[in-house]
């Protein structure tokens, strides 16, 4: 691999990491508040469909993004009602949301656009186009630094930058604000938070609101930034990889970025290696192994063979005030 290829693989890594990172941070807010969320996948998928549908009709990418966020928040609120207000099983609710998104996007897609569940490609104004940084072409010629600037940093759409900007923001919110302190507390010891006169229910609803918004952005990224219109099941398990990354990062924002970067890199590598033979071996590299790696790594980590991942203590338990 030459230098240019390596840099472009890294650039692809950033593009593939973006939805993972957004979904991972989305899950972080929810799980840090003590609500398990395996419905990240469904929220992204619903968001992707919402974004594409609105972008196709209005030709406006920003309206598409807004629709994605709205749809995804709606799903998050469904999860909130089921798991916070009605004190239902959070895992089951997440499973239901994933199926709901999978089914509804296909049904509505066919009914509205008559393309077998796809949406048409939105017009150019309905997509987030790559942003080329100033003088990228001229700088590209400079050895070493040039490709880093022109290929790696420049030329992504705005949502990629938003995703990576969300990491320091999340860090700041989580560790430097009152809201963040309460959020973390409500996931560890809701009773203490309740005793302090803060509503556990309200805190968790707020957390899920953020979860919904971030999943919506991730969804929009799929259909109107990276992709060109909605395709059935286009999130393809990224919500689950994000969940794995969240565990890998032990529910912390900065490690979440590195975990998703690792998984994004594996994905980029897998695409690059498709059909490539290992020198000396007559076999193409089985990409399935690389595809399975994030899941295997997460299981190994969860099993405590490489460090220990312990989630928020109150995770998965609906909070009931004493009666």
């Amino acid at each position: 691999m030459d230098y240019e290829t390596i840099i472009s693989t890294f650039a692809a890594t950033l593009r593939l990491t973006t939805p993972l990172l957004l979904a991972c941070l989305a899950g972080l807010y929810s799980e840090r508040s003590g609500v398990f969320d395996i419905g990240l996948e469904g929220k992204m998928l619903a968001g992707a469909f919402g974004a594409a549908a609105v972008a196709v009709v209005t030709g406006n990418a920003w309206l598409g993004l807004l629709a994605a966020i709205g749809v995804s928040i709606l799903m998050a609120m469904l999860h909130a009602v089921a798991s916070i207000t009605l004190k239902g099983n959070q895992i089951i609710s997440g499973v239901a949301i994933n199926f709901l998104a999978q089914g509804l996007t296909a049904v509505l897609g066919l009914a509205w656009f008559h393309l077998g569940g796809r949406t048409p490609a939105p017009p150019d104004s309905g997509r987030f186009r790559p942003i080329v940084w100033p003088a990228a072409d001229q700088i590209h010629g400079i050895p070493i630094v040039g490709p880093i600037y022109a290929t790696l940093l420049s030329g992504h759409n705005i949502l990629v930058y938003v995703a990576f900007l969300a990491v320091p923001i999340t860090y700041w919110v989580l560790y430097r604000t009152r809201f963040g302190l309460r959020l973390r507390a409500v996931g560890e010891n809701p009773k203490a938070v309740d005793t302090a006169g803060i509503s556990v229910t309200l805190m968790r609803y707020r957390a899920l609101l953020i979860t919904g918004a971030l999943c919506g952005i991730a969804g929009a990224y799929f259909s109107i930034a990276q992709g060109n219109g909605f395709v059935n099941n286009m999130t393809a398990g990224d919500g689950y990889i994000a969940l794995a990354a969240l565990i890998f990062a032990k529910w912390r924002p900065v490690p979440a970025m590195f975990a998703t970067l690792l998984f994004g890199f594996l994905d980029a590598l897998q695409i690059r290696l498709q059909g490539v033979s290992v020198p000396g071996l007559n076999w193409p590299i089985p990409v399935q192994f690389i595809q399975a790696l994030p899941y295997v790594l997460t299981c190994v980590l969860l099993a405590g063979f490489i460090g220990k991942a312990i989630g928020p203590r109150a995770g998965g338990v609906p909070y009931t005030k004493e009666r």
Binding site: K87, V95, V107, G237, Q288, V296, C299, F305, A309
Partner: protein, 376 residues
């Protein structure tokens, strides 16, 4: 506890699931109406497609066979307080066991192939669930997350094997070789022409046996008692001298084995080979079936037939109303999971109050309790 009393048993096991199902159907109907179709026509078409003629019934029962296995898999684990979301991966990987027996013994008799295929696929499914069980029991990782991960790992393993290892020469799509003789399990249509072209086969006998097995295991054996004790109160079972970690591993193995049997129905009963995604999400349907069937074999049998009807009726719907895709059944499935599983709290308090007010026995008891004073 609060003043409301638990529901009478019949309301808990029958009325509440029924009301939740009605709720799911109403919302589904609204979705169908929202895309400009007539929900009553849709129900009529689905009901006719599922039960209206022999072939439809055959397909319904064929799907129900799968859902009985996966529903039982979820239920057995649920009774022990475990949530096995990995039925899909367990069934998929178990396809290897079914096809191996089918191909190796293709020249013998189906009387030999069928039981051995059941054993082989149950073994593979069981081992694939035992690993997450072991990881929870001994290493403290949660079975929900690991079984999700194991679905993806199974899918990658199968894709690799089908693309690179098991594909016969000269075949285009990734698949194993075909069974041609004894590996094909007899179809019930060979004996009852009533079933038309439906792939309903002898595996359904094992599904019925599995229902009985699970009932006896859970409610008529010491092991089942220990299993349910752990599900109700893990610390109590620990103090009673039950090894929770050992139980977790055994229960997960049984659960995976049940899910694995789906492979026999699909691989040797329908396709005569393993193809990509042969289990087609049936493992996940098991979650809905177990919730709907209240984790009881009788309930699961009924719920499996209901979902079998949905799947078969959904196929029919696709032909008759091209504006609705088969994915509508995924929506219905999601709503059933949501209402009977996660949002059970929606109707239960209202129903409890209704029984408090209208149930004669409850009224007397409530009055008696009020005069004595509540215990807390």
């Amino acid at each position: 506890m609060s003043a409301s009393r638990p529901l009478p048993r019949w309301a808990d096991v029958a009325l509440l699931p029924f009301l939740n199902l009605v709720l799911a159907m109403i919302v589904s109907g609204i979705v169908i109406a929202a895309i400009g179709q007539n929900p009553f026509d849709a129900i009529r078409i689905m009901a006719y497609g599922a039960f209206g003629y022999g072939e439809g019934i055959g397909f319904t029962l064929h799907f129900a066979t799968d859902f009985i296995f996966t529903g039982l898999a979820v239920a057995v684990a649920a009774h022990a307080g475990l949530f096995n979301i990995g039925g899909e991966g367990q069934a998929y990987l178990a396809g290897l066991g079914a096809i191996a027996v089918g191909l190796l013994l293709d020249h013998t008799s189906w009387l030999l192939v069928l039981p051995l295929a059941i054993v082989a696929s149950a073994a593979i499914g069981g081992v694939w669930a035992l690993i997450p069980g072991y990881l929870q029991a001994k290493r403290g990782s949660h079975v929900v997350i690991t079984t999700i991960m194991f679905n993806f790992i199974a899918s990658a393993i199968m894709a690799y094997l089908l693309v690179y290892v098991l594909k016969p020469m000269g075949v285009q799509e990734p698949s194993t070789a075909n069974v041609v003789a004894a590996g094909k399990i007899p179809q019930l249509r060979q004996f009852f022409p009533f079933f038309g072209e439906a792939p309903l086969n002898m595996t359904i006998v094992f599904a019925i046996l599995a229902l009985i097995f699970v009932y006896v295991l859970l409610w008529r054996t010491k092991f089942g008692f220990a299993l349910r004790t752990m599900g109700h109160n893990p610390s109590a079972s620990l103090y009673a001298g039950i090894s929770n970690s050992k139980m977790t591993m055994i229960v997960m193995t049984i659960s995976g084995a049940l899910a694995g049997m789906v492979a026999v129905n699909e691989v040797l009963g329908v396709q005569a080979r393993v193809v990509i995604d042969i289990t087609a999400g049936y493992g996940f349907v098991g979650i809905a079936v177990a919730l709907m069937g209240r984790n009881h074999p009788i309930g699961i049998a009924l719920a499996a037939i209901l979902f079998g009807a949905l799947y078969q009726g959904g196929l029919e719907l696709q032909f008759e109303m091209p504006a609705i895709t088969r994915d509508m059944i995924v929506v219905i499935q999601a709503l059933v999971i949501m209402f009977t599983g996660a949002m059970e709290g929606l109707l239960r308090p209202g129903l409890e109050n209704a029984f408090m007010v209208f149930g004669p026995r409850q009224r007397v008891e409530a009055a008696a309790r009020e005069t004595v004073g509540t215990e807390g």
